[in-house]
């Protein structure tokens, strides 16, 4: 048996199932809708469920990569990516990435006691609900957030996002969330296409609908390979590639899912719009696509490494 084995291990599958189960029990659709109702159209009333945050802490969501000696779970990036994929799939709200990255440095972050957010370019997520803000958020003004479950502030002293290791990791965890969202919207679209009937048959029997679904799966699986590989190598260029593909899979997946839902897809009542809005928010993190595209282009001019 060779050493290159690019599949989830049994432990990784178990972890994936465990996180999915936790979120299905603790943040099911009713909880999601209740949170949205509270938040309002523009996120002005959005509140973090501190009880859920602590439970995530207890489950090791934030301390996942801390060494066991420091009270962490002692796992690696691939496991963190699997957990964040599930969070994205469940549309779990909150500054998950910033808090995860602060575990071990900000007291209480690892345990889910302290909510940490970070200034990201011109934007800050969840500023009012956070206990700790990383970066300079002075003069922050609230936005009417397009995503009800991501309240946003605009900061005026725009600090250009630096290409530090933490930014790269933040990019990877965001890509993992996007992957989860993409995968979920594909499932939602397929289920709707099987159930909804027009012209006396399921709309999923029409090729125009079928091919939209197939493309959703293709984008998701290509993104999955890129995201998982980046989790294994932690290479900044692999992460840049993962980001681009996962953003594409999440945004286009949500749009196609919306299209497949017809008029229902345009309602507040259906969940589809929340996936699209969250995908838009995540796609803005760390700036737009120009930086990763430019760094991947620049690499093409380097002499071959191997």
């Amino acid at each position: 048996m060779s050493a290159v084995y690019f599949q989830l291990s049994d432990d990784q599958r178990a972890l994936q199932a465990g996180v999915r189960e936790l979120l299905a029990g603790r943040f099911e659709r009713e909880a999601l809708r209740a949170a949205v109702d509270e938040a309002g159209v523009d996120g002005s009333g959005a509140r973090l469920d501190r009880g859920l945050w602590r439970e995530l802490g207890e489950a090791g969501f934030f301390a996942l990569r801390l060494p066991e000696a420091d009270g962490g779970v002692g796992l690696g990036l691939p496991e963190a990516v699997l957990a964040f994929e599930e969070a994205g799939r469940a549309l779990l709200p909150g500054p998950l990435v910033a808090t995860h990255l602060a575990a071990g440095t900000v007291p209480g972050a690892a345990e889910g006691q302290t909510v940490v957010t970070a200034v990201d370019g011109a934007l800050v997520e969840w500023l009012d609900e956070a206990d700790v803000v990383q970066g300079d958020a002075s003069g922050a003004m609230p936005l009417h957030s397009v995503d009800p479950l991501t309240p946003l502030h605009r900061v005026h002293a725009v600090v250009p996002t630096t290409a530090g290791a933490d930014n790269s990791l933040a990019g990877l965890l965001t890509a993992a969330e996007q992957l989860g969202g993409a995968s979920r919207t594909c499932d939602m679209a397929v289920r709707y296409a099987r159930d909804r009937e027009q012209f006396g048959r399921p709309i999923g029997s029409f090729q125009a609908v079928k091919h939209l679904c197939a493309q959703m799966l293709v984008r998701t699986e290509v993104a999955r390979a890129a995201v998982y590989a980046a989790a294994v190598t932690a290479d900044p260029l692999d992460i840049a590639a993962a980001r681009l593909l996962a953003d594409e899979a999440a945004v286009r997946g949500a749009r196609d899912c919306l299209q497949i839902h017809g008029g229902m897809g345009f309602t507040w009542e259906a969940d589809v719009h929340m996936y699209l809005k969250r995908a838009w928010v995540r796609a803005r993190r760390g700036g737009d696509a120009a930086a990763p595209e430019e760094s991947l282009a620049a690499e093409l001019l380097l002499p071959e490494k191997r």
Binding site: F6, V190, P202, K210, A214, A226, T233, E294, L296
Partner: protein, 387 residues
């Protein structure tokens, strides 16, 4: 998930590199693309060199004459040969990737002994006679008829788009041995036969592609006699036998090409820098995105290969996901090459212009993109048939 190579694998890579560095400079010059006999000789010569060095049929099972290498070693082989600029499989494609593996999986010991060694040694060329004028995407509706007469089948009909037919010794042929009826669905009356291309009654008429060359041909069959011993699998079971082959085609056939595309991407970047187009940020970003694309396709390949290793089977429908994305990415690559070339993109003497033309076949050959999307939607996602 593990992407590190073992010492053994690194040693395999090092040995292969050393060998390639030694033999490639001594290769004869590449033949003229229009000279088919020369192309055949060149491709077979390369296969013979691989055989002598112990690299032939790396991924074939040992009892079929292969090396039984791990999937990872096979990937290393495809990666390194492409990187070193070694010849492509070329005319050996069908033998090594379709007909050979089919015979290895479904053939009798005698059939394996007759047909597999010459493929590995670079002595015989195979072609694939599946498509017909009226049976393309709907392959199972094929009509070329084979009637049993004593120890032979007598075959009448015609095939089309048969690549390498002009220089092939053998053709893996699909024929109808039982008429379609209310009781017999179309895919239950098909049989797989090995047809000697020099049999009386076989006529090959080359077809010109849009690139001006003759890459494929029509094959007319007029009462051609083929011994029943040339049948692989049971009579009327050819559809199942064929599906084994097609999943090979979609699973691993494009691995080397992904590596090649990554090399071309680097060449595009250098050309753009040399001619000044690199200063255009939209072009740079397009190239950067393609870099992401081909990195991901390489990872998806590793994922699919590991998956087939895990499930112990031949690569399955996952290959359709790959093929859909790859064929599109390849076309995007050469469209971007055209942007890099500027006015030279209209010059047929530029290699990338010809490659751009060939890339157009990728969304058609080996199952069109529409058919692949049907496969993904129906077999992976479970959406209802009949659109």
């Amino acid at each position: 998930m593990d992407l590190t190579y073992t010492e053994e694998e690194e040693a395999f890579r090092a040995g292969l590199r050393e060998w390639l560095a030694k033999v490639l400079p001594g290769l004869p010059p590449k033949p003229d693309p229009g000279d088919w006999p020369a192309r055949r000789a060149y491709d077979l010569g390369w296969q013979r060199m691989l055989y002598d060095a112990g690299y032939a049929g790396l991924h074939w099972p040992v009892d079929a004459g292969g090396r039984g290498a791990t999937p990872t070693q096979h990937l290393i082989f495809l990666e390194e040969t492409e990187r070193a600029g070694a010849p492509y499989v070329g005319a050996n494609f069908v033998g090594l990737l379709h007909a050979g593996p089919t015979i290895a999986a479904e053939g009798t010991p005698e059939q394996r002994a007759r047909w597999l060694p010459p493929i590995l040694r670079g002595e015989e060329v195979w072609c694939q006679g599946f498509s017909e004028p009226d049976a393309g995407s709907d392959l199972a509706s094929l009509r070329t008829r084979a009637v049993r007469d004593g120890d032979d089948y007598v075959i009448t009909g015609s095939k089309i788009w048969t690549s390498h037919a002009e220089v092939a010794d053998w053709c893996e042929l699909l024929v109808r041995t039982r008429p379609v009826s209310d009781e017999v669905p179309k895919h239950r009356g098909i049989t797989w036969l090995a047809l000697p291309m020099d049999a009386p009654g076989v006529t090959v008429r080359p077809l010109r592609t849009l690139a001006g060359s003759t890459e494929f041909a029509e094959v007319f069959l007029d009462e051609v006699r083929v011994p029943a011993a040339n049948r692989v699998g049971a009579e009327n079971d050819g559809w199942r036998v064929t599906m084994v082959t097609l999943s090979f085609e979609r699973g691993t056939a494009f691995v080397g090409e992904v590596v090649a595309c990554r090399r071309v991407l680097g060449e595009l970047a250098r050309e753009a820098r040399a001619n000044g187009r690199w200063d255009d940020p939209s072009l740079r970003r397009r190239l950067g995105r393609l870099n992401a694309e081909f990195r991901a396709l390489w990872r998806l390949t590793q994922w699919n290969v590991s998956e087939s290793e895990r499930t112990g089977g031949v690569p399955g429908v996952g290959g359709s996901v790959f093929k859909l994305r790859y064929s599109h990415a390849r076309q995007e690559l050469y469209d971007t090459a055209a942007e890099v070339l500027g006015p030279d993109a209209l010059d047929l003497s530029r290699e990338w212009t010809l490659d751009r033309l060939s890339s157009l076949s990728y969304t058609i050959a080996a199952g069109t993109s529409q058919i692949q999307q049907n496969i993904v939607a129906e077999r992976i996602l479970g959406l209802p048939k009949n659109g």
